[in-house]
Amino acid sequence: MAARLKKLARLFALYARMDAQWFAQDTALCLVCVLSETLSSIASVTAVFLLAVRFGGVGSMNQDEVLFMLGFYTLSTGLYNLFFNGNNTGEISRRIGRGQLDHCLIQPLPLWVQLLTEGFLPISGCQGALCGAIITAVAAGRLRLAVTLPSLLLFLLFLLASVGVQVGMRYVASLSAFTHPVGSEEISSVMGNFLTSIGYYPLGGLPHWAQGLLVTVLPAGCLSWLPSMLLLGKSPFSGAMALYPLVAVLVCGAGALSFKKGLKVYEKYGSQRYKAMGHRS
């Protein structure tokens, strides 16, 4: 166990070094990287914030609470980018569909170790998380939220759950890429787009059945709405505090099982296709 953790730490350090080297290739690249990541993060939540300003809040959340939720969303998607955006480890259907799992299979490491570490981009991919942290901090200040150790731990646990939902759902969707590599090459990003395009809306005014659907089967509401409501002490329905981590665990488990099942298919049929696009670049 200790050896495995040490190995994980060494691999994270390795990918951090490689990311820093890539980032430092030229100044223009650095600037565009920082600028595009920052603008992307802010632009994606600006529209909802403007809605909140225009209507003095949305769906049982006032303007500052919406800002808090958007901060949480930006932080969560930023952390996803930080840990899973490199080398398509999050957009796993691309690797599967393009026949690039073969590259993983010739490495003397368990696949989960490779997929957990290869996407780590602490330098070029941290802008979203930083923006998210700043927005969340500003919103927390405006809401005068008391920051205690338990609340901070809960915040971190919910962040982990939110990132887990994003990764898990992408892996669940990617199961089809094992059997239909061409048609499903982009299925993980389609799933990601669905989650992120709904994930930053306050869902408070939706009918209960719709809320239930969006925090379980298609858990876009688990990205930021449900955890923010819970952190703000406005639990939208009874049992939500227990349901949220449970959904995250179930989604992650389903993602892992789907991938394992897909590997069995891969073992039987392999990949009839190979496309170098996006591989180690």
Binding site: S36, H180, V182, I198, G205, A210
Partner: protein
């Protein structure tokens, strides 16, 4: 025209080989996203009653149209993937104009979207609280202008990606985020506070989706939007063609 349709047909066939179940998976998720948006508008309407001068019916139609016409309002040609897939070198080896081929491939790529998502959603529009007939006939002039402008914007982003070969991913991300905010496709400009919406609606990105959609639902002013669209198209068309030809050598030298 025979060559054009043959190329477009190849693109349609290519998508058809993906299998219905695979194609439907992606489209169902998009449809689910659209339905969730409709519910969000409904909650806004219930909460404040004021939707920036729009009725709920107009807002519903606006959002449904965004999904139904998505490929036309956010044109994506294969040029963006030139670097990785070697698309362009192949295009130069055929006895047909490069831009013509890119257009044919793009239009062919729209077919599955129209058949599998747009058509069912259009049929459902009245049931979901929207309307099918455009409120302004100017929409039929605005949409082709938006498509041409969309091609120009895509070629310009393509040229930018060619210029910054190492940053294609970053540029794609940035484009995705800006498109969501500035084209008015996700949230109608009418819902934005103050003068923000008005200013954005006349910008080169704002006229891409926002103009046609607002004319369709009857909230846009054709006297303002159509000249803006025409102006941006007149500016962007020569600029994109000029920059595309300027970038050709670089495209060919660095992978095609």
């Amino acid at each position: 025209m025979k060559q054009f349709f043959a190329t477009a047909r190849m693109r349609v066939k290519e998508s058809s080989t993906f299998g219905l179940v695979n194609l439907l998976g992606g489209y169902l998720l998009r449809a689910a996203g659209t339905l969730a948006m409709l519910m969000i508008w409904r909650q806004l309407a219930d909460g404040s009653g004021d939707l920036g001068g729009m009725t709920l019916e107009q807002l519903t139609t606006f959002t449904l149209l965004t999904t139904i016409l998505h490929p036309m309002l956010d044109v994506r040609t294969p040029i963006s993937s030139w670097l990785h897939e070697g698309v362009l070198i192949g295009l130069y080896q055929r006895p047909m104009g490069v831009l013509e081929q890119l257009t044919a491939m793009t239009l062919g790529g729209w077919c599955t979207h129209f058949v599998l998502l747009s058509a069912p959603l259009a049929l459902l529009t009245p049931l979901l609280g929207g309307f099918l007939a455009p409120r302004s006939a100017w929409f039929f002039l605005s949409l082709p202008l938006a498509v041409v402008q969309g091609f120009c914007v895509d070629f310009l982003f393509g040229c930018l990606i060619v210029r910054a070969a190492n940053m294609s991913w970053q540029i794609e991300c940035l484009r995705g985020a800006l498109t969501g905010l500035l084209t008015g496709a996700v949230i109608p400009f009418a819902l934005l506070p103050g003068k923000v919406g008005q200013l954005l609606s006349l910008s080169p990105l704002g006229t891409l989706a926002g103009a046609s959609l607002s004319l369709y639902v009857g909230t846009g002013d054709p006297a303002l939007l159509l000249p803006a669209q025409a102006l941006w198209t007149a500016l962007l068309l020569p600029l994109s063609l000029f920059l595309f030809h300027k970038s050709t050598e670089r495209m060919m030298s660095y992978g095609g």
